[in-house]
């Protein structure tokens, strides 16, 4: 098993921390992981993105040019990464603020309205956990219990009281993600 995943959105949306939680969850399942951020000016105003690789074997390159899964959380990210999903791969996008939805027919496109849902939950901070829930629904690469373990490891102790809220958000994400178009 080798899953090369890119997560991309605006800086501050929790893109990097979502990647970190995913990587930690992989470690909890004794998998190999790598987490490579696009750091620097990209985080100011443009897109922040991170490549997370989860595999059974040691990971060779932390840098890849094509992805099994792209999770895109704004229009610039969608524009940048739609073409970089491998044929037959998965694209997950949040519909919030998207004016030009994905058009490719050879990939599986999922939509998750995580921004709207986080506002309904009156807590936009759990936005990224809703998205993570959506990913785990369509690609169960790690078990929920291991995600919770990973979350506990990556969150400072003072935030451990938010663990139940995060779990609720992940579960919501699993419910609301929708298949928009199957790969032809």
């Amino acid at each position: 098993m080798l899953q090369e995943i890119v997560i991309s959105g605006f800086g501050g949306q929790g893109v990097l921390s979502m990647g970190k939680i995913l990587a930690y969850s992989g470690i909890m399942e004794d998998k190999e992981v790598s987490w490579m951020p696009a750091y620097g000016p990209e985080q100011r105003g443009g897109t922040a993105n991170v490549t997370v690789i989860i595999a059974d074997q040691p990971i060779s390159s932390p840098i890849v040019s094509q992805f099994d899964v792209a999770i895109v959380l704004n229009q610039p990210s969608l524009d940048k990464f739609e073409d970089k999903v491998k044929p037959g791969g998965i694209l997950i996008y949040d519909g919030y603020g998207i004016h030009h939805p994905p058009t490719r027919k050879d990939i599986n496109v999922y939509k998750i309205d995580a921004m709207d849902e986080s506002m309904k939950m009156s807590n936009t901070k759990v936005f990224n956990m809703i998205v993570l829930g959506g990913l785990l629904k369509v690609l169960p690469i790690v078990k929920l219990e291991n995600v919770m373990k990973g979350l506990k490891k990556s969150l400072p102790e003072r935030y451990h009281n938010t663990l139940p809220l995060n779990e609720e958000a992940i579960l919501r994400g699993m419910e609301i993600i929708q298949l928009e178009r199957k790969a032809e």
Binding site: S60, S61, S65
Partner: protein, 361 residues
């Protein structure tokens, strides 16, 4: 080695490994993409536990001269920076080498020249292994290609530096510094006592005792006859390092028709390119230099008789390729592929380059 598996950045691993190794002092000045080293050290506050000093100096020039002071006392001292900051340190590095002072330097390279970009690069190869400062000196240079090696090479760097009384450098880049991977940190070691330092480093300027003459640490020698003898001593030492300390990794070279030569993050990308190439039926392997000085010329020379060509892959305009050509010595084809200015090549474009420049050329 600790059994606990952690997930952290390469920069963070260096900081934690330094505390655990029993380093006495870190002096540095923040610069992307290596600021996590000093941030992690400040956050861990080892002065409260191991007694390690962590100091943000007023500049890179101050940092390297603080290293000179600490190293003169036989302490385990280190600094880190990224390319432009490392350029500022070159005078101090030459002085350290000229005074035969052991210390650990870390360069998390970014794109240049000048202030350049903050993205990963390997363009300081020449500066590091061919001498960025003045005079005939050499830097023991280690090139990690994983977060685990970032942690491991702190100990290795100090061991080699003290074994040969010479500065050692971890030459890495923004990819390995910024990426997170699994890592096992070394066990804690106690910092050496002053008495232990006096025993291990009889040259250290820790205060004169009645039984010996004063120790003098300097790179200044006004008599050229003596300075030539000093240089001969340095050169003999460098030949010893070249004889004993060459390190490299051979990957799938046994049956290879073509060999990549790459270090650090570029070697990770080539590793993937090897997989892609072998899926297409091309027998490709890699020699990964772990020490960039001393350089593994011999192993390259041995394969030069067996393979149809070498492709060096570097994130610069082609620097290490000159050393590969020295190793190959005209026996077979050597080409270079790379990207510059902070662009990291992907495995697929590396494979395309191998086909164009070597396989189908």
């Amino acid at each position: 080695m600790s059994q606990e598996i952690l997930l952290m950045k390469g920069n963070e691993a260096i900081a934690h490994a330094a505390i655990r190794y029993g380093v006495d002092g870190y002096f540095g000045y923040p610069i992307t993409p290596q600021s996590e080293i000093i941030e992690t050290l400040m956050d861990a506050a080892p002065w409260k536990t191991t007694g390690m000093v962590v100091l943000q100096a007023e500049s890179e020039i101050a940092s390297i001269n603080m290293v000179y002071g600490g190293a003169s006392c036989g302490k385990y001292v280190m600094t880190s920076s990224s390319s432009p900051g490392m350029s500022l340190m070159q005078e101090g590095i030459s002085y350290l080498a000229g005074s035969e002072l052991p210390c650990l330097l870390v360069n998390v390279q970014r794109g240049g020249p000048g202030l350049g970009t903050i993205q990963p690069s390997q363009a300081d190869y020449f500066q590091t292994v061919k001498g960025g400062g003045h005079g005939d000196y050499r830097l023991i240079t280690l090139a990690p290609n994983s977060v685990q090696e970032m942690a491991d090479f702190v100990a290795l760097g100090f061991e080699l530096a003290f074994k040969y009384r010479n500065p050692a450098m971890i030459l890495t880049d923004g990819v390995i510094g910024q990426m997170m991977e699994k890592v096992r940190l070394p066990e804690y070691r106690r910092r050496r006592t002053e008495q232990e330092i006096r025993q291990q480093c009889p040259w250290a300027t820790l205060g004169k005792t009645p039984d010996r003459e004063p120790n003098i640490i300097t790179s200044l020698e006004l008599d050229p006859e003596i300075e030539e003898q000093n240089n001969i001593r340095f050169q003999n030492k460098y030949r010893e390092v070249e004889k004993n300390e060459v390190r490299y990794e051979e990957i799938m070279c046994d049956d290879a028709d073509y060999i990549f030569v790459a270090f650090g993050s570029a070697s990770r990308i080539c590793q993937r390119a090897i997989d892609l190439a072998r899926e297409e039926g091309y027998k490709v392997g890699m020699i990964r230099p772990i020490t960039l000085w001393p350089y593994p010329y011999d192993i390259i020379n041995r394969y030069a008789d067996k393979v149809k060509g070498f492709l060096t892959v570097e994130m610069n305009a082609g620097q290490m390729v000159e050393d590969v050509r020295l190793g190959v010595n005209g026996k077979t084809k050597v080409e270079y592929y790379g990207r510059m200015g902070g662009i990291v090549p992907g495995p697929d474009e590396v494979l395309v380059a191998l086909k164009e420049k070597i396989i189908n050329a």
